[in-house]
Every structure is written in structure tokens, then in C-alpha cells.
Amino acid sequence: MSSTQDQSELFNGTANVGLKDTRSVDGTDTRAIPAFVFGEELARLADHDPRIVVLTADLARSNRATDFANRHPERFVNVGIAEKNMITMAAGMAASGYIPFAATFGAFAALLGAEQIRTDCAYPGMPVRVVGHHSGMSMGFYGTSHHSLEDLAMMRCIADLTVVCATDANHLRALLHLALDHQGAMYIRLGRGRDPQVYPEVPDLAIGRAETVRDGSDLTIIATGSEVHPALQAAGELAAGGISTRVVDMFTIAPLDRDAVLDAARSTGAVLTVEEGNLTGGLGSAVAECLFEAGARVPFRRHGVPDEHVPVGPPAALYAHYRLDGPGIAAVARELLDSKGSSR
């Protein structure tokens, strides 16, 4: 494969996403899985909801806002490569009654637009939905400039900002529905757009309530976004070794589902968090705060990307490198259980 093909395979282009490269994070064939349903689902919702507008910053081909633009061109705004202006303009539109979805790479939405999200969206309570896609290190060999490993930590410390991660296509559909009637601003974190299916149907979600996607009794893996599917794979592998694993999809980062965290500690006696992000301040930190403050002393480990700039490599290689694929997570879980003293 030439380097040009490599780029298009990884990157944008409506014809490419989810079609050319059928290998996902863990090697699953994703051909049958809708890539980005973002534009298509919003276009459908907008047929009946005149409040919906979509903004992007010259990435409509990447995030499939084209699917919205084709159906509702009068409610589509491409601001060019100007993310700060996009987010603040969205806030201005929200002040006039619209529900703007402003989408760009997570790196540019959350890091470049952090102050606009805080000051113009969260603080005045504007119903702007900032959609950060290609989050984590899913941009692979594009390198640090295009990775958003800090976004969960940065977004969750902003007051009056709801922070959620989409797990798969059906999950994203549910989040987009929820977003229409949710008060205040939201940061919606999407993966690369080809995340393998976790939810066979559109789930009935509530902000602040995590989804238990597999039950178990020896350990709970609390994962979010792109890491829920490999966490389920890990649970399957652990089951073969006689370890019963609960998997909680903590898509709701802020507010966190504290009950689900404390129940996991109480019922399974060990907690492992898994996220595609820098370990400083993200999901694992949020869960640690919750456990420690509640006095829950159980074997606990945060798993994610260490506090470093990741090396260049294709996404799948990076997930394997950081043990964020199914086998890697299973190995980390075994290490944790060994420390618990119950292990095999």
C-alpha cells in the first residue's frame, strides 16, 4: 500500500471511512458496521426538528456532516478551518434558539476550543453540542498534533458541561436523540467512526447512568468509548480462564455514575478502568476519586495511555503497543487480580 493510500485509508473522505480498511482496533471486520452515523442521524432528526443546525470546520467529508448538508443545506454551516470561531458562532446561534452540533477532530474541538467551550457554551448554559471525533489516538501515524488524549480530563473539569463518549453507531444515535432535550452544553466524544458494534439496537440511555454491558462477579472493567468493545473481548478471554468479569460502559463521564462505580467495587471486589486517553485526569481519575472518597478500598488500576507523547504507528499497532486491545486488557486484568490475591 502506498503512503497516499495509507493516508486515505486512515483519514477522511466519505468513500473511505469504514469501507476501505475493514480492520478495526482489534482486527474485527467492520464492513457491516455503520461508520459515522453522525450526519445521517442528525439529518433524519432535523426533518422533524427545526432547531438542529450542524457546523464543521472543513471536515464535513471526514465526519460525514455531508450527509446532513445534502439534506438540509440551509442549516449547515462550514466555517472553514477556524474551530474557535465555529464553537463561539454555535453559541451565538444557540442563544437564538437553535441546537447547534459543532463537529471537528477532538484535538481541535477540546484542546483548541477549550476556552470557547467553557466561556461561550458551558458558562452561559448554551445548548451547544461540541462533537470531537477521531478522538484518542485513533489518528494513528498523524501524531500528537491530531491526537486528543487530554480531552476527557480537560472537559470534565468544566462546570455545567455534560461530557459523554459514544460507544458505537447505535449508541451515538441514542446520544444524538438525548442531546435534543438536554439542558446546557455537551461535549460528545466520538472515536474514529468505525468502532465495532456493542449495541445491536439503539439503547435507551440516560445521562448519568452507565450501562452494564456484561455482568460478572470477580472484577469490573469500567471502560468508555472505543475501549468498551475490547473490554468485552477481554471479558470473554478472562471467562475462558474462569474469571467472571462485569463490563460497565461509563459513557457518561460528567456526570459520572457514582452508583455504578461503588456497586462494582462492592459486588465484584476489583475495578479496572480502561480509556483511550492520557491517564492523568480522565475516566480512571474520576473513578479513583469516587472510590477513595467513598472509602472503597478494593484492588484498583487505571489503564490507558501513559503520560507521554505516543509514537507514530497505525492505530491498531498503537492499541496493541499500549495493551488497549482485548488481549492487552485481559493481561492487565490478570495482573490486577494477582494483586487481589484471587488469581489464577
Partner: protein
């Protein structure tokens, strides 16, 4: 009702607006004493702009602060809020006595305006460089929803160093937001000195013109000239966004503050307080 461009504002109207500009300045002096510090000079430069816009130009209904077809006003230079609050109270958006809580713990009225707490504030501001994007979003929303309202945005000249201003300027020109009016209070000073020395913004009109705006330049303290300009703006329709460069003097009206970098934030105490109120033509408070 706003005058049309063919009407000649009478001397009574000009005197009324001059009186309201004086009111903006004296109230700023009064409220600053409550807080113990305030942005006098950045309000004094735009007192006539506040007066002409709020008492003559803007289409507002204080009994309906959320009226969808009202004109919008975004105070991008949010530190001038201390001069805007008394205007909103005077127009009837809220009881003027509420201003006595200015900056006290839990007050709706801080140094920068909070739209959630203050009726008549169309958007919260304070972080320089954001307001023109807010206003562009509002103007775009107005066009999308079929409303004929205008959106006005008041910027500082020092603020033009913020890069986001130019993102917004580019987008407003590109989207032909003819219902958007940006006003630059070109009062010549930032915190560290003259804008021309710290980071030159001129030619402001030429720069905006290059971004597709129709530009105007006016003495920002000349009420008849401001009236003529604002009432003569083209219809709020698809077309170039409108830029008004208002040449002003930071600290205008109080000799010790005019073009002085020492008064960006200050506090008048003792006899100085009385002297300044006297200079502004107000009886001792």
C-alpha cells in the same frame, strides 16, 4: 421608534442623548466606588455609543427581553459592562436599586456581564476576541429564522489583536451577514499603552474592508454624526456586514483620565470622587 435616515434628529434629541451619555459616566463613577475598582476609561470612550444605540437605535422592548425579533447587542469589550448596567436599568429591564449590589457576593452584576442573571444582556462576555463570533452566530441565526433584526457588536481596538476576531470577520464577510454591525470603540489605549505601540490595529477600516465588510468611520463622541451614520445604515439584508470605526478618546470627559494608561482600572476616593462628578456636571452624590 427609530428615525429613518431622512429625519433630522432635533436638538432636543441630541441633548437627551448627551444627557444619557453623562448618566453612563456618572453611574460608572458611582458603581466603581461600591466595588473599590472599575474600568472607568473604557466606558467613558463608548458612553455616546451606548447612549445613541440604546436610547435611539436598537429595536428593543424592555418588557420582553427575550423577544425573538429584538435587535441584539453583544458587548465584546465586556469590561465596559459597568456602563451598560445602568442603561439597562434605566430602560426598565430591571429595578435600578439592584445595581447597589454591584460586585457584592452573589450579585448578578460583576465586572463582566452575565446573561443568565441580567435581563437585557444578550450574551455573557469578558474574554476578549469572542464577541464578534457570537454576533456572527446570532446574525446567521436571524437570517436562518427569517427575522429582520440586526445584531450589533461593540469591540475595542486593542481587542483586535485577538486572532478569533479575524476568523469571525472572515466568516461574516463570506456569509454576507448584512444584518451584522460591528462597532470598534477605537479609544487608542490598551492596558500597557497606546494600541499603536503595543500591537498596531490600524488601518482598522482597511483591514475589515479587505475581509468583505462595508466600512464607516466616525467621531465616536459626536452624537449627531453617530445618529446620521446609524440611522443611515443599509437594510439588514444579504450584503456586506457593516463596520463602524468610532474614533474615541479613552477616558473621555474626565481630564485626568483622557488618554492616560493609568486609568484603565482605578478607584476615585475622597475629594477626587467629588471633583470628577463635578467635572461630569453632576451634583455631589
Amino acid at each position: 421608534m427609530p428615525l429613518t435616515s431622512t429625519d433630522q434628529p432635533g436638538t432636543d434629541e441630541v441633548a437627551r442623548l448627551a444627557d444619557r451619555a453623562r448618566f453612563v459616566r456618572t453611574e460608572t463613577v458611582r458603581l466603581t466606588r461600591i466595588a473599590g475598582a472599575g474600568h472607568y476609561s473604557a466606558v467613558f470612550s463608548c458612553a455616546e455609543l451606548f447612549s445613541v444605540l440604546y436610547y435611539h437605535q436598537l429595536r428593543l422592548d424592555p418588557s420582553r427581553p427575550d423577544w425573538p425579533d429584538r435587535d441584539r447587542f453583544v458587548l465584546s469589550k465586556g469590561h465596559a459592562a459597568i456602563g451598560l448596567y445602568p442603561v439597562l436599568a434605566d430602560l426598565g429591564f430591571f429595578d435600578p436599586s439592584e445595581l447597589d449590589t454591584y460586585t457584592r457576593l452573589g450579585s448578578p452584576f460583576g465586572d463582566h456581564p452575565d446573561m443568565r442573571r441580567i435581563p437585557g444582556v444578550d450574551f455573557s462576555s469578558g474574554s476578549l476576541g469572542h464577541g464578534l463570533s457570537i454576533a456572527a452566530g446570532m446574525a446567521l441565526a436571524g437570517r436562518m429564522s427569517g427575522s429582520d433584526h440586526r445584531t450589533y457588536c461593540l469591540l475595542g481596538d486593542g481587542e483586535l489583536a485577538e486572532g478569533q476576531i479575524w476568523e469571525a470577520a472572515m466568516s461574516a464577510g463570506h456569509f454576507r451577514l448584512g444584518n451584522l454591525v460591528a462597532i470598534v470603540d477605537a479609544n487608542q489605549l490598551g492596558i500597557d499603552g497606546f494600541v499603536r505601540d503595543v500591537m498596531a490595529a490600524e488601518p482598522i477600516d482597511g483591514r475589515f474592508a479587505a475581509f468583505g465588510w462595508q466600512t464607516h468611520r466616525v467621531d465616536g463622541h459626536d452624537i449627531p454624526a453617530l445618529l446620521e451614520l446609524f440611522t443611515g445604515l443599509p437594510a439588514a439584508a444579504d450584503g456586506p456586514p457593516q463596520l463602524v470605526v468610532a474614533d474615541t478618546v479613552k477616558g473621555k470627559g474626565v481630564a485626568r483620565m483622557e488618554l492616560s494608561p493609568d486609568w484603565h482600572v482605578g478607584n476615585l476616593v475622597g475629594a477626587d470622587y467629588d471633583d470628577v462628578l463635578a467635572e461630569l456636571g453632576q451634583e455631589r452624590a
